[in-house]
């Protein structure tokens, strides 16, 4: 299997991640295309000393940061973190409301969303995701804990005690 083949098998996951991260179809496809262009041009850099997938996600995230940086001053994508209101439903349903979850993901700070999607959606281990994000595992862990907690609050999941009090 050549590096190009391996890159190709990763495209569906890259698209899924980019869409979930950017929440904008066109922007996500552009980002994936950018990422692929870079990966193809730099594929000699990949030496088999790690999975191609992690390398591609790195490129994708780096590319996204570049784009964001150069767009500073023009478009501002500032997620809301401070003004989190708990959602209304407070039960213990087997499933979360998908619209609520999608909306809540959009309100997570970018770094938390990027981290959570790597482990929760793409199934990466802490070690792998930390490498992709180029942050220490400890930083990633606390980022994930914050993301999960915020998500829980925004999708109406208070701790058991709160639930009792509210009822």
């Amino acid at each position: 299997m050549t590096v190009l083949d391996e890159i190709e098998t990763c495209i569906p996951a890259l698209r899924r991640y980019a869409h979930a991260l950017l929440r904008d179809r066109e922007g996500a496809e552009d980002l994936v295309q950018d990422c692929l262009e870079r990966a193809v041009a730099r594929r000699t850099l990949w030496r088999g000393d790690g999975p191609v997938r992690a390398w591609l996600f790195r490129i994708l995230l780096n590319r996204f940061r570049d784009v964001r940086r150069s767009a500073e001053g023009r478009a501002q994508l500032v997620p809301l973190d401070a003004t989190v209101e708990p959602a209304r439903s407070g039960g213990q349903e087997a499933h979360l409301d998908l619209r609520e979850v999608h909306a809540a993901m959009g309100r997570l700070p970018f770094d938390q969303r990027a981290a959570l999607l790597l482990v929760a959606l793409e199934g990466m281990s802490l070690a792998e995701a930390a490498r992709v994000l180029d942050i220490p595992e400890g930083t990633l862990t606390s980022r994930l804990a914050r993301a999960r907690e915020t998500l829980r609050r925004m999708t109406g999941r208070a701790p058991a005690q709160d639930l009792v009090e509210r009822k």
């Binding site: 050549t2 590096v3 190009l4 890159i7 190709e8 495209i11 569906p12 996951a13 698209r15 899924r16 869409h19 979930a20 496809e29 994936v32 295309q33 692929l36 262009e37 193809v40 041009a41 730099r42 594929r43 000699t44 850099l45 030496r47 000393d49 790690g50 780096n62 570049d66 940086r69 150069s70 087997a94 499933h95 979360l96 998908l98 979850v101 999608h102 993901m105 959570l116 999607l117 482990v119 929760a120 959606l121 990466m124 281990s125 802490l126 070690a127 995701a129 180029d134 220490p136 862990t141 606390s142 994930l144 804990a145 999960r148 907690e149 998500l151 829980r152 999708t155 999941r157 058991a160």
Partner: protein, 256 residues
């Protein structure tokens, strides 16, 4: 709870998304603690919701433009396609330690101007790697400015290589006078505070050398001249680590 201390979310995350052994440990803890199970169940619900929301995107057909790009790369007979083999060959030779002979056969020996490169790079490293307040003129946070500024001053496209795979993060760069014109100095640092200097200066046409090793005190480095650019990577690091970093830098500079 089986432990004396309650398990906080971060500890739980380390177990849930850690290595297989961590997950086994988590399974044991869960068996003994119903409240833990409920906390984990909430995260399972989150993950299930994310999968339901976003997995369909991965099942869609891949847009033609993505496929075309890869197909074009696979077909391309150009230099980009041949380079991987050349680099792989170069690495193999480096690995078995015959690089000197191989390159000596392929390339002319360096003249004094190229050998100066190593000296200049060592000097720049000695001066700036110890600088606490102003190691660089333009920080890595201004990446696009740094890139265009260095490229403009050196007169060649310069993209600071990404050495983060080897633990080194770009601090930024500066320009310096060099016997061949204007040189770019890029400084990198790892988590241990060790610094690396990548020195890039214009080189005369027709000169090519492969990796050469230079040493001055504790600092040592590899340097090479290729494609009208002279490059030197200098640091106070073990020989093998430096060589790996140099190869990575070499590959990336070669792509620009």
């Amino acid at each position: 709870m089986s432990d004396n201390l309650p398990i906080d979310d971060e500890a739980l995350i380390r177990l849930r998304h850690g290595e297989p052994a961590d997950r086994e440990k988590l399974a044991d803890l869960l068996a003994a603690d119903p409240s833990l199970r409920e906390r984990l169940a909430e995260w399972d619900r989150q993950d299930a919701a994310l999968a339901t929301l976003y997995n369909p995107l991965a099942d869609e057909p891949v847009p033609a433009r993505h496929q075309d790009l890869l197909a074009a790369a696979a077909r391309a007979p150009g230099w980009r396609f041949r380079w991987p083999e050349r680099i792989a060959a170069a690495m193999a030779f480096l690995a078995i330690g015959t690089v000197a002979g191989w390159f000596a056969a392929l390339h002319q020996m360096p003249g004094p101007a190229e050998a100066d490169l190593a000296t200049e790079a060592m000097r720049a490293y000695a001066t700036y790697s110890v600088e606490v307040l102003h190691p660089v003129e333009v920080p890595a946070s201004a990446a696009s400015h740094l890139e265009s500024w260095l490229s403009k001053r050196v007169g060649r496209p310069i993209t600071p290589p990404d050495l983060s795979g080897n633990g080194f993060r770009l601090l930024g760069g500066r320009v310096l006078p060099d016997s061949q014109g204007t040189a770019a100095l890029m400084l990198y640092e790892n988590d241990l505070g060790q610094r690396l200097a990548l020195y890039v200066a214009p080189a005369p046409a027709g000169v090519e050398t492969a990796f050469r090793f230079a040493q001055s005190g504790a600092a040592q480095g590899f340097w090479w001249v290729d494609n009208r650019l002279g490059c030197a990577l200098v640091g106070d690091l073990p020989h093998d680590a430096l060589r790996k970093l140099s190869l990575s830098a070499y590959d990336q500079i070669d792509q620009t």
